[in-house]
Structure formats: C-alpha cells, structure tokens
Amino acid sequence: MTSLIILSGSPSVTSRTGALSDHLATRLRGDGHTASVVRVRDLPAEPLLHADSTHPKIAEVADAIAGAHGVVVASPVYKAAYSGVLKLLLDLLPQFALAGKVVLPVVTGGTPAHVLAIDYALRPVLSSLGADHIVPGWFVLDRHVEPLPGDARLDQRAAEDLYPIVDAFSEVVRGRHALAVA
C-alpha cells in the first residue's frame, strides 16, 4: 500500500486550500492510497516560529513525510508566492526530506496572473528539499473552491482540469512503488 501525505499551508480557518486538500485526500484514497492531511495551522506555533524541529508534533510530521511515498504540497498564493506558513514547516524539515518521493504542488489563488508562482517560486523549494520527481502541478482559482465540512465542492471546469493532474500523480506514485518492490 502506498502512503501519501498532503501538507496544507494556509493560516486561515476556513481555508480553501485546506478544503481542497481534504477533497484531494478523498480522491487519492479512492485510488488505493492511504492519505492524510496535515494543516500547518493546526501545528503548535511556538516550535514553528522558533525552528524547533525536536518538538514532538513537528517530529511526528517529519516522520510521516519520511514514511510517505508521495507528498502533495498545497499552498495559497500570498503576495505572488507560497504562504509563509507553509515555508515555516518546510524550513523545519531535514535538508533532503523529499528525497525518494513523488511530489505534487497545488496552489489556490485569487488571480490567474499568479499561476507561475508554482513553477517559479514553489518548485525550486521542493527541488532543494531533494524531491525525486515533482510532477506538473496545478493552480485552482479560489472562487472555484467551495469549502464544505471535511471536503470541497469544485467548479466543474476546475475539476476537469485538476483531476487528470492528480490522477497522473497517483499513477507515478504507484508506478515507482511497483518498481521499488519488484
């Protein structure tokens, strides 16, 4: 069984990024993986701000990432880049925390003018964390995500664009795992 972790980097309670993350987790479970969502905002602020990677809650996340086959990194676009909250967590991970993993970047944002934040801002960070294979990511407009309890309702067109990207990620994770155990 392949395990996936979804890191969701929004500070907001009613986060569209968070809702989208839950939605993706459900889809990926339906495709045969185990998937858990970590919302950075639910982690204790003190160790995040003081870069305390020994804190049990942070170590727990680092361990979960270490054990995962694939990681979805989800962030809202803030000021033309990923959120600071997401970076707080990434900065606490070991240098090559994403080594050996397949990574899917997903961002939500208010304007399509900022789509390239995925490839120009987020992707280099994921590469520097040693990610083996960063599959093409996707940008979802905030108004196309309606948060529901533990899920999200997606605009139909947005879903038609996003699902093939997510399914391709799922396939790559499965394919690499099959190779590794063969």
């Binding site: 304007t111 390239l116 120009y120 801002a121």
Partner: protein
C-alpha cells in the same frame, strides 16, 4: 530633451508586443520616442553573438540605446519565459549600457496565467544589468486587446512611473563637444590673459 527608446522582441506581424511597446512609449510623452523591432535585427544580433562584434546596422541601435534617457523593453512570452531573441539582445548589450537607466518592462502572452514571467524572468536579469527597473510592469494577455480591461490604466501607471523617473535625473545623451562651444571672445581673453603673464 528626453529620449525614450522602446524595444519590442515580438516576432509576428502585426505584433501585439510591438503594439504594447508603442502604447507605452506614446504614454510617456517624451520629446523623442522611437520603437525598435528586434526582428529586423535578428540576423545582426546572431552575428554579434557569433563574432562578438556589432556590425554597421546594429551599432547605431546600440548607441541610441546607451544614449536614451529611459527604455521600454517588451517581450512576448514563449514557453513561460522571455523570447530567445529578447535574451539574445540583452546578451549583446554592453554590460554597463543599462546601468542606472530607468527601464519599464512589459510582456505579452496568450494567457494571463504567465504574467509572473515579468517578475521572475525579466526583472532579475535587468536588475543584474543594474538597470533601475520601475515597480509597475505591464502584462497584456490576448484578452486585453479589444476588450474593456484595465490594460489602459496599467499602461498609464507604468508610463507615469517612467516619465517621473526620467524627469528626476539629468539627461543621459552623449556630451557633444560642439554643442556648447567656448565663445570666441573667451578664447581671446584666455590668450590675452596668458600673454599678460608671459
């Protein structure tokens, strides 16, 4: 007298990149503006890359660029970055030609989704060349043409920034040794002064 040079790296004819360059240039309202299309110099630019030598066609363009008070640089977005022709041109510009020069950057593309090319690709290169890159960069997507979008407002804002920056600094133009000659009487006075002391 202020001179603005707009450079368009558009390849098509007619070119929306050229159109954006012209609209930005017109809005700056300088004493003298010209738009240069790099496609007309594509062979000369390539020759320069290969020979490290500006030919007779290219030399005056590079000179006018160095002499301009402000520049407008506009590229089409090709595969999520500036065009090869645009970068080739920056590659042959003398390393210090853009130093301290106010530069307005713009780009055109099919989709608004590539707007950040301005901030992630153009701005860093021009900063490296030590140009003064103005805060407002203008991106025009296909949907901006012929529709009621805020493109005109962005053009006005960016052009205003360039005009203000140019107005703030002394004119760049080359020192012309004949532009401000020492009056003949002064020369005579100089000679007579010297004879006094001899």
């Amino acid at each position: 007298m202020t001179t603005i040079m707009a450079i368009s790296a558009g390849l098509s004819q007619p070119s929306s990149t050229r159109m954006l360059a012209d609209r930005l240039a017109a809005e700056v309202k300088a004493d003298h503006t010209e738009t240069v299309e790099l496609r007309e110099y594509a062979h000369d630019i390539t020759d320069h890359l290969l020979t490290r030598f500006a030919n007779a066609r290219l030399r005056p363009v590079l000179r006018r660029l160095a002499d301009a008070d402000g520049l407008i640089l506009v590229t089409p977005v090709f595969t999520a970055s500036f065009s090869g022709l645009f970068k080739s041109f920056l590659d042959i510009v003398e390393p210090d030609a853009l130093q301290g020069k106010p530069v307005l950057i713009g780009a055109t593309g099919g989709t608004e989704r590539h707007s950040l090319v301005l901030e992630h690709a153009l701005r860093p290169v021009l900063t490296y060349l030590r140009a003064v890159v103005l805060p407002t960069a203008v991106y025009a997507a296909s949907a901006d043409w012929g529709n009621d979008t805020d493109l005109s407002r962005r053009i006005a804002r960016a052009a205003g920034e360039l005009a203000a920056e140019v107005a703030r600094r002394p004119a760049v133009g080359r020192v012309d040794p004949f532009a401000d000659p020492v009056p003949f009487t002064d020369l005579l006075a100089d000679i007579s002064g010297r004879t006094d002391h001899d």
